[in-house]
């Protein structure tokens, strides 16, 4: 990889390291239930101390997602959310949210937007990078080059089933951080963290000096604390989306802010 300037995500992990702290990465689906709500929720996550936000682009066929995020995607699509509308709103959100935000998307909406246009627009509106969940490392050369040209981070996934060669390649083309999925399968809350994840973190350390984030199936403060003992950051997705589904309509963004505060600082147990 050619040398690159420091991104907002790099700075975020540098600050965390300086404080000897670990990162909390929070996922929500844009447009769930509306784009107005997303504006409120992003501000709430920012106040609650989320270190990085993954903003999901809703897709008609969210293959990698379990039922909770599938439902969020359906709500967002019902309210007319598209990648164009998300990027249109972004500058307004950026007025009150300084947390790094990466777009979590399937590839087809980006492809139809136009890869160059997408990267140029995302950079211009203040997004920090993207994770394209169904783009395999082997097919990603052009995408990675275009994103780099716009100083956007590219996050790829490593799985417990990945071979060493695959893990190395995915880490090499990642920037900002490297995302390890705790178990094979789709997104969703689980009562226990898979035992396959700690060896995966150790394996990934051999291939990269990037911060390592662990996600898929992490839903409680106790699980976040557990992940923090061996990784640099924990990603909580479905549990936050579940809270948005259950509590946002009646209690508003404050309930979600409270939930994320607990994830960020809550005690073990």
């Amino acid at each position: 990889m050619p040398s690159r300037s420091t991104t907002r995500i790099d700075a975020c992990f540098r600050d965390l390291r300086a404080k000897q702290a670990k990162g909390l990465i929070v996922y929500l689906t844009a447009g769930d239930p509306t784009l107005d709500a997303t504006g409120e929720l992003l501000a709430a996550l920012d106040r609650a101390g989320a270190d990085i936000i993954e903003l999901g682009v809703p897709f008609s066929d969210p293959l990698a997602d379990g039922p909770v995020i599938q439902r969020a995607s359906e709500r967002a699509l019902r309210s007319g959310t598209t990648l164009h509308k998300i990027l249109d709103r972004f500058p307004k959100w950026r007025e009150s949210v300084s947390t790094p935000i990466i777009l979590f998307s399937y590839y087809n909406p980006i492809l139809q937007f136009g890869l160059n246009d997408f990267a140029a627009t995302a950079a211009a509106v203040g997004a920090d990078g993207a994770l394209v969940v169904d783009l395999s490392p082997e097919e990603s050369d052009t995408y990675t080059q275009v994103m780099r040209a716009h100083h956007l981070d590219t996050v790829f996934l490593g799985a417990p089933t990945s071979s060493d060669a695959r893990l190395k390649h995915a880490a090499e083309i990642s920037s900002g951080f490297f995302y390890l999925i705790s178990r094979a399968g789709v997104t969703g809350e689980r009562s226990e963290i898979a035992s396959s994840v700690q060896p995966l973190v150790e394996r990934a350390r051999r291939f990269t000096s990037l911060p390592l984030a662990v996600g898929f199936g992490i839903s409680t403060a106790a699980q976040v604390r557990e992940v923090e003992t061996w990784a640099d950051a924990a990603v909580v997705g479905s549990a936050v989306v579940h809270a948005i589904e259950k509590r946002y309509p009646l209690e508003g963004p404050a309930a979600i802010e409270q939930f994320v505060r607990t994830l960020k600082a809550g005690p073990v147990g």
């Binding site: 066929d61 590839y107 087809n108 169904d134 094979a184």
Partner: protein, 372 residues
């Protein structure tokens, strides 16, 4: 991604293993019923008044469609990989029935995902799968049809990959599936070539097959691709109209995109969301086409066209009355196109149609369409 690498490695090994190929050939011959006949549809030809029409009788295979060719191949491959569980998607139910059949034959557990709308319109096949010991899981997400069943099947597979093989039913999805499915289906074209040379002493002038995901069509076409004198026509589902959401004619209304791990022609909105589709035939009701068909389209080697629901229903009735064969509604799309083309050709020309499945499963649809 790792599961795809594992699958490709196992397949590359299996296809060079004489024991694997011998076991598959034995099952195709003595269990599935290959080779299938090539029937000269004399009365249909006379009625249309032009080219001679031959039917490649995949409808006569065990389970009633070409799907069993691929299921036997992938079933043996899964077993060889040490998998004990098969998952599959199904639209019309033909692939689900074939997978359930092979699972029973090989002593494997089987779960078939099927859109709830498809379960309602193809209920005989749901009962057949259950009789065969498979679990049929209704899929209520999205459009409740084939693409949503594929989503669920893939989610199951990536979650349970250690003991599970995803038995993809059509020549679509991520590599290596389109290649594997085509290889297990190309026997249709290879047999057709031998049979045609035997009865007519020459190759046919035209091949015609319906295209959903595209497995029966690539199966018929593949062996003939180098023979440029053989014209090939793929027939998509024109549905009710060519308005987005009312049909499944990807080459008429789609553009390149990514669905289910394949870059191919896809029916989609401007924003890249996968569109709803419609066809009277559940097996053609899918928003993307197998990627090899997109390549053949771009090369101009295969001509792709579409016929409407009404034309397919009429073609099915015609075959019943003239030849005593009840065709699947999928295959009836190809028959409807032949009904348009044969009259414009001469009696010394030959068209081969892939009669990819039988129509027993569609009787309920014929009934609600007022045909019965």
């Amino acid at each position: 991604m790792h599961p795809l690498e594992e699958l490709e490695a196992a397949y590359q090994e299996a296809r060079r293993d004489p024991a694997f190929l011998a076991e598959l050939e034995d099952l195709l011959t003595n269990y599935a019923g290959r080779p299938t006949p090539l029937t000269h549809a004399r009365r249909l030809g006379q009625h249309l008044g032009g080219a001679q029409v031959y039917l490649k009788r995949e409808d006569l295979l065990h389970t009633g469609a070409h799907k069993i060719n691929n299921c036997l191949g992938q079933g043996l491959l899964a077993k060889r990989m040490g998998k004990t569980r098969l998952v599959a998607e199904t639209g019309a139910g033909q692939h689900g029935v074939a997978t359930a059949t092979v699972a029973a034959l090989l002593g494997m557990e089987c779960v078939v995902y099927m859109g709830s709308e498809d379960m309602a319109r193809q209920s005989p096949n749901v009962f057949r799968m259950r009789m065969l010991g498979s679990k049929v899981v209704p899929v209520d997400s999205g459009t409740k049809t084939l693409k949503d069943a594929i989503n669920e099947g893939m989610r199951d597979w990536v979650t349970n990959v250690q003991n599970t093989h995803y038995l993809m039913g059509s020549a679509l999805g991520p590599h290596p599936y389109p290649m594997i499915v085509r290889d297990f289906q190309k026997i249709i074209g290879e047999e057709t070539r031998r049979q045609m040379l035997k009865v007519a002493g020459r190759l046919p002038d035209m091949l015609c097959a319906c295209v959903g995901g595209g497995s029966n069509s690539i199966g018929l076409f593949y062996d003939f691709i180098p023979n440029l004198s053989v014209k090939m026509v793929g027939v998509e589902a024109g549905g009710r109209s060519l308005r987005l959401g009312e049909h499944a004619a990807r080459f008429a209304g789609g553009r390149p995109g990514v669905l289910h791990g394949a870059y191919t022609y896809v029916l989609q909105t401007e924003d890249g969301l996968i569109s709803n589709t419609h066809s009277v035939s559940a097996g053609l009701d899918y928003a993307a086409v197998g990627p090899e068909h997109s390549a053949l389209y771009r090369q101009g080697r295969v001509e792709y066209t579409h016929v409407s629901d009404a034309e397919a229903l009429a073609a099915a009735q015609q075959l019943c009355k003239l030849e005593g064969i009840i065709p699947a509604l999928e295959s009836s799309h190809a028959l409807a196109e032949v009904a348009k083309r044969a009259p414009r050709m001469s009696p010394d020309q030959i068209i081969v149609v892939n009669l990819s499945g039988r129509g027993d499963k569609d009787l309920g649809i014929f009934q609600s369409a007022g045909v019965l």
